[in-house]
């Protein structure tokens, strides 16, 4: 059906591979060799990197440093895998065949173990410890998160973001995609590019873009250079410090993310709309359906699964938003969100326990959404 071009593949049945000699060798020695082969590449890589890092501290020429870094970082990895493959080839053929898959897949597993599995488990443990990380405190961190105002405000705001941003981005994106579909090809493409362009901009960059929209100067400190206040004062109103208006300031920050994400929603929804069979649409028109009925009864049901995918994708991005709040307000004026509060806790205040607990809250909330999403992917695969 009409999910994103890539990314819709589910865990399909593995292609059948003829069993190679040695693959079923489960002797102790074979396993030692396998584990070793998985570890060699990451270990040498790390040694390599940090030896280089140590050497370059004495060097002064920046560009030379960067150049070496690139060669080491880019070529070095390939050379390592090649060298490892040669080593495995030097083993007796039968043993080598059993070890080689681990030389190929092992390094990835080691990296994943170190950068995702271990930290995730560790963060769970930390979330039950005090801020110094030297004693277990049970659920105290979570209790604080769900009772103290600081954290409740962050959670309230995050929930607000999660409810409003995806709705706005998908709504506007869908409206725009539907309209643009009726334009000549060239105009459509140009219009879509304009809407999509913010996707290339970093959240920090976007925040700077929008500081020039929301800029506020108190009376007597010069002309308003923020376009919003220029409009307000132009109509005789009084300039507003947008980012300091309680509750509303959250909304103004959300607009930035909507601005960034609408293009994404629009592009994917647009391709889904185009995949709705023209015959069905035409037939319903001939039967006397007006444009709204066609949209409501034909187009929406046909693209509903895509809407869910786009919605949840934006929802997850929104839930973890950090940069915009950090740059625009730093979480002041009641604008903090969970992800930004989390960084503030562990990075600024050294409250590792609370920080870890907030990370766990972020994680737990995402799991059901992703499970639903994966289930949908599977259902779709099954009917395809």
């Amino acid at each position: 059906m009409t999910t994103p071009p890539i990314g819709r593949e589910e865990v399909t049945a593995a292609p059948t591979v003829p069993v190679e000699e040695g693959a079923k060798d489960n002797s102790f020695l074979a396993w030692i060799l396998r584990i070793l082969s998985a570890l060699v590449v990451p270990a040498v890589l790390v040694l390599f990197f940090f030896a280089f890092e140590f050497l370059q501290r004495r060097d002064t020429n920046k560009l030379v440093q960067i150049g070496t870094a690139l060669v080491v970082g880019v070529l070095g990895v390939w050379v390592l895998y090649w060298g490892m493959d040669r080593l495995v080839s030097a083993l007796p053929a039968r043993t080598g065949a059993g070890v080689r898959p681990f030389a190929f897949a092992g390094p990835a597993m080691v990296l994943l173990g170190f950068y995702l599995v271990y930290p995730a488990v560790n963060t769970f443990i930390l979330s039950f410890q005090n801020d110094a990380g030297d004693a277990f405190v049970g659920l105290a961190n979570f209790q604080r998160i769900f009772t103290e105002t600081t954290y409740l405000v962050a959670i309230r705001n995050s929930v607000g973001w999660a409810l409003l941003v995806p709705a706005a981005a998908v709504g506007i994106g869908l409206y725009f995609a539907t309209l643009a579909d009726r334009l000549p090809r060239r105009s459509e493409a140009t219009a879509k590019s304009l809407l999509f362009l913010p996707m290339a901009i970093s959240f920090v960059g976007a925040s700077v873009v929008w500081t020039f929209i929301y800029r506020f100067r108190p009376e007597g400190f010069g002309e308003q250079i923020g376009i919003l206040n220029a409009i307000v004062t132009g109509f005789g109103g009084e300039a507003v410090d947008w980012l300091a208006v309680p509750l509303w300031n959250n909304l103004f920050l959300m607009v930035i993310l909507v601005w960034l994400q609408t293009g994404f929603a629009m592009v994917i929804l647009s391709s889904a709309i185009k995949a709705v069979p023209e015959e069905i649409v035409e037939a319903s028109r001939i039967d006397g359906a007006n444009e709204w009925q066609v949209f409501r009864r034909i187009v929406i049901p046909s693209i509903s699964s895509t809407i869910v995918v786009v919605w949840t994708t934006i929802l997850i991005t929104t839930w973890k938003v950090f940069d915009i709040v950090y740059v625009m307000t730093g979480g002041r004026e009641g604008t903090s969100v969970v992800a930004q509060q989390m960084v503030a806790e562990f990075f600024t205040f050294n409250n590792d326990g609370i920080g870890a607990a907030l990370a766990v809250v972020l994680f737990i909330a995402v799991v059901p959404i992703l499970v639903i999403n994966v289930k949908r992917f599977r259902a779709q695969e099954a009917t395809r």
């Binding site: 009409t2 071009p5 890539i6 990314g7 593949e9 865990v11 399909t12 593995a14 292609p15 591979v17 069993v19 693959a23 990197f49 890092e53 690139l70 970082g73 493959d85 898959p101 190929f104 990835a108 597993m109 990296l111 950068y115 995702l116 930290p119 725009f176 009726r182 334009l183 090809r185 219009a191 809407l195 913010p198 996707m199 290339a200 970093s202 920090v204 960059g205 925040s207 700077v208 873009v209 929008w210 020039f212 929209i213 010069g222 002309e223 250079i225 376009i227 601005w259 994404f264 592009v267 994917i268 647009s270 889904a272 185009k274 995949a275 069979p277 023209e278 989390m342 960084v343 990370a359």
Partner: protein, 301 residues
């Protein structure tokens, strides 16, 4: 310029026959609606672009829209802001961003490609189970990894080093990369791999000569996704590199400048554009892969 439409979906090209001409008379409201939204979406960045070329004093004194009265007055335009910004640390940050981004894109692709090949075309105990576990790691938010990794980095003294952040980005990007590459490589015809084997090619040769060249589209999609991710990333750079001048990247430099208040106001627009220029170039040059790369990331947690 290639355009977003063409990118969207293979089926889109086939089914987007020109709409019947009888709808032409109603096009005006459609143009109005599309035009209005497109304008709203363009104004923020356009205003910033205009500001970035204005005289510093003018930026502080009046809004960018006032230039429309003096468009042809050459005295109103200057590249002074860009010069100042580049000298003020952004040239340095640009180089740092490149030094962070290139290996942070290439390393995960290489590591994931080898792993994906093994998952797709090699037989080993626990293969499918491990692959499912890797896909499961997609749900772990980055935030879960920050505290423990930073602790380790600080203890062994590699916080604030380039290799530290390369490997961190590689680790965080791997689940998506392995997932995408394995699914793509798995769809290559097995007869192809088999015949190469019969011709005496070993796994390494099949991988480098056959599978990698055939997987270019998915490699490109992931590369662009990861490039944008790392280039635009602020959180990981802030935590693992920080504000230390010798390694700070563009997003960190920009957020620092943005936090300095009115004094640096006139530099902000130019600075913001320096951080955006490379993604925008990639955007216009590779729109097809760009959209695919972004949509590819939609399964990421």
């Amino acid at each position: 310029m290639t355009t977003v439409t063409e990118t969207a979906h293979p089926a889109a090209a086939a089914s987007s026959t020109p709409p019947p001409s009888r709808r032409k008379p109603n096009r005006f409201p459609v143009y109005l609606g599309v035009g209005l939204i497109a304008l709203l979406w363009t104004i923020p960045s356009l205003g910033l672009l205009i500001s970035s070329f204005r005289d510093p004093r003018a930026i502080r004194a009046s809004g960018w829209w006032t230039v429309f009265g003096e468009v042809f007055d050459s005295a109103a335009w200057t590249i002074q802001n860009y010069q100042e910004v580049m000298e003020g640390g952004f040239a340095n940050a640009f180089v740092n961003s490149l030094a962070v981004t290139i290996p942070a894109v290439v390393i995960p692709i290489t590591v994931a490609a080898f792993a994906a090949y093994a998952f797709a075309w090699m037989e080993f105990p626990g293969r499918n189970m491990i692959f499912v576990a890797v896909v499961g790691l997609l749900v772990i938010p980055l935030q879960m990894a920050l505290i423990p990794i930073l602790r380790i980095y600080t203890n062994v003294g590699v916080a604030g080093t380039l290799p530290g952040i390369w490997l961190a980005h590689a680790g965080f990007g791997l689940p998506l990369a392995i997932y995408l590459l394995r699914n793509y490589m798995g769809t290559l015809p097995s007869s192809l791999i088999e015949s190469a084997k019969i011709d005496g090619a070993d796994h390494f040769t099949i991988f480098t000569r056959l599978v990698i060249p055939l997987s270019i589209p998915v490699l490109a999609s992931f590369a662009i996704f990861q490039f944008l991710w790392v280039w635009n990333d602020f959180l990981v750079a802030l935590v693992f590199l920080g504000y230390n001048e010798s390694v700070r990247v563009l997003t960190v430099e920009l957020s620092d400048l943005a936090g300095r208040g009115e004094g640096t106001l006139s530099l902000l627009p130019a600075a913001a554009f320096v951080t955006m220029i490379l993604p925008l170039v990639v955007f216009f040059a590779l729109q097809r892969f760009f959209v695919r790369g972004l949509t590819a990331g939609s399964v990421k947690g």
